[in-house]
């Protein structure tokens, strides 16, 4: 159970090696936090030492976002081991490479499966647990790429568009059940995922995304854009005619 200052006792990051997921967790950990679970496909790379603090147990565990049939038992197992799950950050996702998709369309299926299908089952499993416990907060990593698809990353963007719509609906579906959902829409973030790519306007860092997300969660916001200006940028971009949008130098 979190306390009145929104300080969680148990925090779970699905996608425990995600730089953004970890940056959010770093902002959410307080002296009230007892357990941080970093769940990912390669737990040996999760580096729990980065979070080491007296009184905080950092757990790394195997979790495969693509193995959708494991998600519900996995979440129930987490609750059995660690008690109520106060905050779950759904941070896993893949960007993929358009050239690979062109060469082998089935490669795109893998990205879509993880980013959308896997996130849907994970969120539903977490929401189910939180409804059973009557409280909890889910942060779902969407992306501005889902706001309007671009030629550079439309497979990724379309998967995030689906996830964003799902997460908004989930937030309304659990309204009144003590559960909150915050949809996080970062812009271009300098991280491993985007290494070597050309930076887009209003590029940010995992740390800033973490700070803004934690603040939005404390305030119970449904949606957070990082950086905040992107809310207004996309108000405009969303309505641009296609020929204009296509030509924009968005990285």
């Amino acid at each position: 159970m979190q306390n009145a200052l929104h300080e969680a006792q148990t925090i779970v990051v699905l996608g425990g090696t995600s730089e953004i997921g970890r940056a959010i967790a770093a902002e959410l950990v307080t002296p009230a936090t007892r357990t941080l679970v970093l769940a990912c496909r390669r737990p040996d790379e999760a580096n729990p030492a980065a979070f080491a603090r007296e009184g905080l147990e950092v757990v790394t565990t195997y979790f495969d976002a693509a193995a959708t049939d494991t998600h519900d038992p996995f979440v129930r197992g987490l609750a059995a081991d660690h008690g109520d799950l106060d905050v779950v950050v759904v941070a896993f996702g893949q960007l993929g490479d358009q050239a690979d998709f062109d060469a082998d369309p089935s490669a795109a299926a893998e990205v879509v499966h993880v980013n959308y299908t896997g996130a849907v089952t994970a969120c539903l499993a977490v929401a189910g647990q939180m409804k059973r416990q009557g409280h909890g907060h889910i942060a779902v990593l969407s992306s501005v790429a889902g706001e309007r698809a671009r030629a550079a990353n439309y497979v990724y963007g379309s998967s995030k568009a689906g996830l964003d719509a799902f997460a908004q609906g989930l937030g309304d579906a659990v309204h009144g059940a003590g559960v909150r959902v915050t949809v996080v829409r970062p812009g271009f973030v300098h991280s491993r995922m985007t290494r070597g790519m050309k930076s887009a306007p209003f590029a940010t860092t995992p740390r800033v995304v973490g700070e803004l997300t934690a603040e939005a969660m404390r305030k119970g916001k449904h949606t957070v854009w990082t950086p905040g200006i992107l809310r207004y940028v996309f108000m405009v971009l969303r309505h641009l005619p296609r020929p204009v949008f296509r030509r924009l130098p968005l990285g």
């Binding site: 159970m1 306390n3 009145a4 059973r132 416990q133 009557g134 009144g176 059940a177 003590g178």
Partner: protein, 456 residues
């Protein structure tokens, strides 16, 4: 763990009075006749009784489980031995309307009339008379308690005293109280004779409180935590005693036990997200509140609501902090750690937080209850809006100072403790847990607070 639960009943989100940290539970209305069936029907996440929801944090909520609300029940006054036997769901508001015209007062009242007798015992509440009269549980002679297995036991200081004192201050985690018998205070009039002192520094406030405490049944000070320099901790001390018939004017003497308790206003449900509390409004309020107090006034007659329950004049005043709510930070330190109290008050003044609700009070000796809050010494309570700043680190620093000094925090106000701070403040927890294990081995009684603090 959930496979055997019955189909989930419709749920509601509940918070404490601080309006923070909601959780959803099935709210089940019960009376004495249906209580046993409701207990048998509890799901794996158990149940907890909820009175009027005046605990500030999460002790009367139970996410994913059931929250039981007991119908008020009856009020039976026994004038032969000055006691009342009262349903646990009866409020002090209801009680005073019956008692005062008959020449009685409750042994202890908190700063609000809107608490139930069950809640008063479960939190072992205290009032402005703690330094002389102790807390509510001290005056209770009998509790009818329904246990987890639905048997009803009668407990008191002389009948299963272990379970009785575990129930006093036990936050509803030993069973469901059905009714309780407690001693009443005979009064000649419904007026309080109040001495008011406006005191320009913390030192003056504390010196005067110690000097006058044995002369007055009721004593409490309000502090201006935005005053600075040599005025840090300046405040208004109000000492009170029940007025005798001889103190009333001729007009008042016609109905010496007249009692009226009305609400003047209700806070609207829609308040700006961060409320109307900020440093400017609070500084102005505090200055006005301080200046309106006379430098020194003796024997002013006030009504019971004016003296004891001033905040009850405005319904839902807790909304003033906005939708994000507020916490009440309330702690005790023993007399030998008065420097810690002084130091915390100075740090609060230095932080210049917009705080107008402050209560500084002397406590007398505690009672035998392992989880009862009051102990000899000083206590301070302050309200702080959650939205205002990130107050966690400041309160965390205070926690350490309080605990290092041998002090503790009040479970009825708690919304920020950790299992560790709770254990340090309540070293007799293991003793309480043994008694609780005897009457609720399966852990049927549970609340969000009991899970958060690992009380059971």
């Amino acid at each position: 763990m959930d496979a055997n639960d019955p189909a989930p009943a419709p749920r509601v989100e509940l918070t404490g009075f601080g309006l923070t940290n909601p959780s959803a539970a099935s709210l089940v209305e019960i009376d004495v006749a249906t209580a046993a069936a409701a207990i048998k029907d509890l799901p794996s996440r158990g149940g907890i009784a909820r009175g009027l929801g005046r605990s500030y944090g999460d002790p009367a909520q139970n996410g994913g489980g059931h929250v039981l609300r007991l119908a008020p029940g009856s009020i039976v006054v026994d004038e032969s031995d000055h006691t009342a036997t009262v349903g646990a769901g009866v409020s002090i508001d209801d009680l005073l309307r019956v008692l005062v015209p008959r020449g009685y007062f409750v042994p202890v009242t908190p700063g609000t009339r809107y608490v139930t007798v069950g809640g008063a015992i479960a939190s072992d509440i205290h009032g402005k008379n703690h330094h002389l009269d102790g807390s509510f549980g001290t005056h209770v002679t009998n509790i009818r308690l329904m246990l987890a297995d639905t048997t009803i036991v009668e407990i008191g200081p002389d009948r299963d005293p272990e379970l009785f004192w575990a129930t006093v201050g036990g936050m509803g985690l030993t069973g469901l109280m059905l009714d309780a018998t407690f001693r009443l205070l005979p009064i000649e009039t419904s007026r309080i004779s109040v001495d008011t002192y406006r005191l320009g520094s913390l030192d003056e406030v504390m010196t005067e409180m110690v000097a006058s405490e044995s002369d007055f049944r009721y004593s409490v000070a309000w502090l201006d935590l935005l005053a600075t320099g040599r005025h840090v901790g300046r405040g208004v001390l109000t000492n009170g005693a029940h007025a005798t018939a001889g103190q009333l004017t001729a007009a008042e003497a016609g109905d010496p036990l007249e009692y009226r308790a009305d609400q003047l206003a209700v806070m609207p449900p829609l308040v700006p997200p961060s409320g109307v509390i900020n440093k400017l409004t609070v500084k102005a309020f505090n200055e006005m509140w301080y200046r309106k107090a006379p430098r020194s006034r003796r024997g002013e007659l006030q009504s019971i609501p004016t003296y004891f329950h001033p905040l009850d004049l405005v319904g839902h005043w807790n909304r003033v902090y906005g939708s994000e709510g507020f916490v009440q930070y309330q702690f005790h330190v023993p007399d030998d750690a008065v420097d810690v109290m002084v130091s915390i008050i100075h740090r609060l003044a230095a932080a210049q937080l917009p705080i107008f609700m402050t209560v500084l009070k002397r406590f007398g000796p505690g009672n035998p209850a392992p989880l009862s809050f009051p102990q000899s010494g000083w206590q301070l309570a302050i309200d702080i809006g959650v939205a205002r700043r990130r107050i966690g680190p400041l309160l965390g620093a205070f926690d350490r100072m309080v605990l290092d000094a041998g002090g503790r925090h009040y479970l009825a106000k708690d919304a920020t403790m950790t299992p560790e701070t709770f254990r340090r403040g309540y070293p007799r927890l293991a003793e309480w847990q043994d008694i609780r294990a005897r009457v609720d081995p399966a852990g049927v009684w549970a609340s969000d607070q009991s899970r958060r603090l690992r009380i059971t």
